[in-house]
């Protein structure tokens, strides 16, 4: 016997005389259920108070109480209940597997159904313990969901692995190209210098060839150093060699070097370093590398005559800010994401000289110092690369 059966019988009784025997039978069936304590019927009066309870010993005490207090699942449903009572709503209100949260206890599930009892004109509320069925259902749901989530996780991992392997392949293709160009210069020029005909070269010409070999060799070395740094950062093997650093000196030196870069010669560099910064605990070579990478990036993307501003200061909250701002074309958010991704950025970097590994390296160097890199940019508005490092690295003696 189910709640549904009872509801149909009590509602569908065509004329009272014929239905009586049926009702008695029903009541008998209901009572035998109640004696097992897994079901109760409450009749609610017009103010939604419990007028009468059939069965379910544990509910006997609630006669006279506000039904919304006794059955909190009804909260909010007052209008719907009124429409059911007036006959405007033919559907019963029905909630399955309701439990009320009580910390530390396994949830007790009940099914609840409210319909109009045509004989009394009262709302009848059937409450049924969902007990064992609910526990089985819950186990099923748990297993089904866990399986589905595991499958999703596998699919995501597979997609990520595929994307990473694609990125690495294209990275390899690009890096091979980058390595080949200077290597060709080295080999080609060395060949020329080695041939017997080389004797016919003027010493100035020979020096030119040798000079190209030197600069190509230096470029190769830069590339390989960048690659080593990146892969060390990826595997976590990068070690900082820390000491007290003079930030003013580091800023000044990096700037001087940047002005001598090929891309730097026609740019206007502006330095706004706070001259009173206390000593900073960090890896001097890596801090210079951060600034140089940012400066040479800015130089690469700035138009001739464009201003590049280096700012080194302590923020009000105490952190160190290293900022390089340029007047270049800027990036849109999708370009930015690519530029920050190791193994993802060479595509756009290829249009320019250099390794194109600058930003990912800066980001990991900043992170190894406990800070981070942030980029503020928009198309047409230039780019501001900001590295923030923890204020705790400043010498405590002179917190300015």
């Amino acid at each position: 016997m189910t709640a549904g059966g009872m509801q149909d019988a009590s509602r569908g009784a065509p004329h009272a005389g014929a239905a009586l025997g049926e009702e008695e039978a029903l009541l008998w069936a209901a009572r035998s259920l109640f004696s097992r304590g897994d079901m109760a019927i409450a009749l609610l009066d017009a103010d939604l108070r419990v007028a009468q309870i059939l069965g379910g010993e544990k509910f006997a005490a609630v006669v006279g109480d506000d039904a919304l207090e006794v059955f909190p699942a009804l909260i909010g449903c007052e209008e719907t209940l009124e429409r059911i009572r007036s006959g405007a709503e033919p559907q019963a209100l029905s909630f399955e597997n309701i439990s009320i949260h009580s910390d530390g206890y396994a949830p007790q599930y009940v099914n609840l159904r409210v319909y109009l009892d045509p004989h009394s004109g009262h709302l009848a509320l059937v409450l049924q313990d969902a007990g064992e069925t609910a526990r089985l259902q819950r186990n099923l749901v748990q297993q089904r969901n866990e399986l589905a989530l595991a499958r999703q996780a596998l699919e995501t991992a597979r997609d990520e692995a595929l994307a990473a392997s694609r990125a690495k392949s294209s990275f390899l293709a690009n890096i091979s190209h980058e390595l080949r160009t200077p290597l060709n210069v080295v080999i080609g020029n060395a060949e020329i210098l080695r041939r017997p005909r080389a004797a016919a070269l003027s010493s100035a010409e020979a020096a030119d060839y040798a000079g190209d070999i030197l600069s190509s060799g230096e470029l190769l070395l830069d590339l390989i150093n960048d690659l080593i740094d990146l892969s060390r950062a990826e595997t976590g093997d990068l070690r900082l060699s820390e000491s007290w650093c003079d930030l003013g000196f580091i800023a000044h030196q990096s700037l001087r070097y940047a002005t001598r870069l090929e891309d730097g010669r026609d740019k206007r560099f502006v330095e706004t370093a706070d001259p009173h910064l206390p000593p900073f605990w960090g890896d001097e070579r890596r801090l210079k590398q951060i600034l140089l990478n940012l400066l040479s990036n800015a130089a690469k993307f700035s138009p001739p005559g464009g201003a590049i501003t280096l700012r080194v200061e302590r923020e009000p909250e105490g952190r160190l800010l290293l900022e390089v701002a340029d007047e270049g074309p800027g990036l849109d958010p999708s370009e930015l994401e690519v530029a920050l991704e190791p193994f993802g950025q060479l595509e756009s970097g290829k249009r320019h000289k250099g390794t194109g590994l600058g930003l990912p390296i800066v980001k990991s160097l900043a992170r190894f110092h406990g800070g981070d890199l942030q980029i503020v940019t928009a198309p047409g508005l230039g780019l501001r690369a900001q590295v923030r490092l923890p204020g705790s690295r400043f010498s405590p003696g002179d917190s300015a």
């Binding site: 749901v141 989530l149 958010p333 994401e337």
Partner: protein
Amino acid sequence: MKTHKICVLGDFGVGKTSLIRRYVFNAFAQDYHATLGVNLYKYEDEILFEEEPTRLRFMIWDVEGAAEPGPHAERYVVGASAALIVGDATRATALQTVSAYAEMFEEQAPGRPFALAFNKADLIAAPDPHAKLGLQELDARFGVEPLLTSALTGAGVREAFRKLGEQVLAYGL
């Protein structure tokens, strides 16, 4: 004081239970216990409404998750003052399921406010998650600004429920 029924809806495993537990108990658990049917939480909060601290009583319905809103979910939202619709920000399907639930709620509870929460934001590394997830689209479609939440860190959680509370009051529900 009136108690407001708030339904928390969405796909399974997106963090509905976790968001409620963060809000109600300020707690978080790593392990996953699927919700069957609905689990009710009573909670009273004080929110700032028209610059006045106002007490609000919620009956929060933590509803069993499903990839799509079905007849069960439709029945559970009867009488809800508002809904918090939750998506998993790490899933490609989030936008789609959240939209489907929002449509269902608009249909079943016309004129009732709802909020859209993209949870597990702690797992998203993108510099601009709103753009990455395409959330502006939802704003345009439902006139509801999507929120990023993390039940793990607590980010955005209280804000999401309180925003709903404010709307419930503003709508005079």
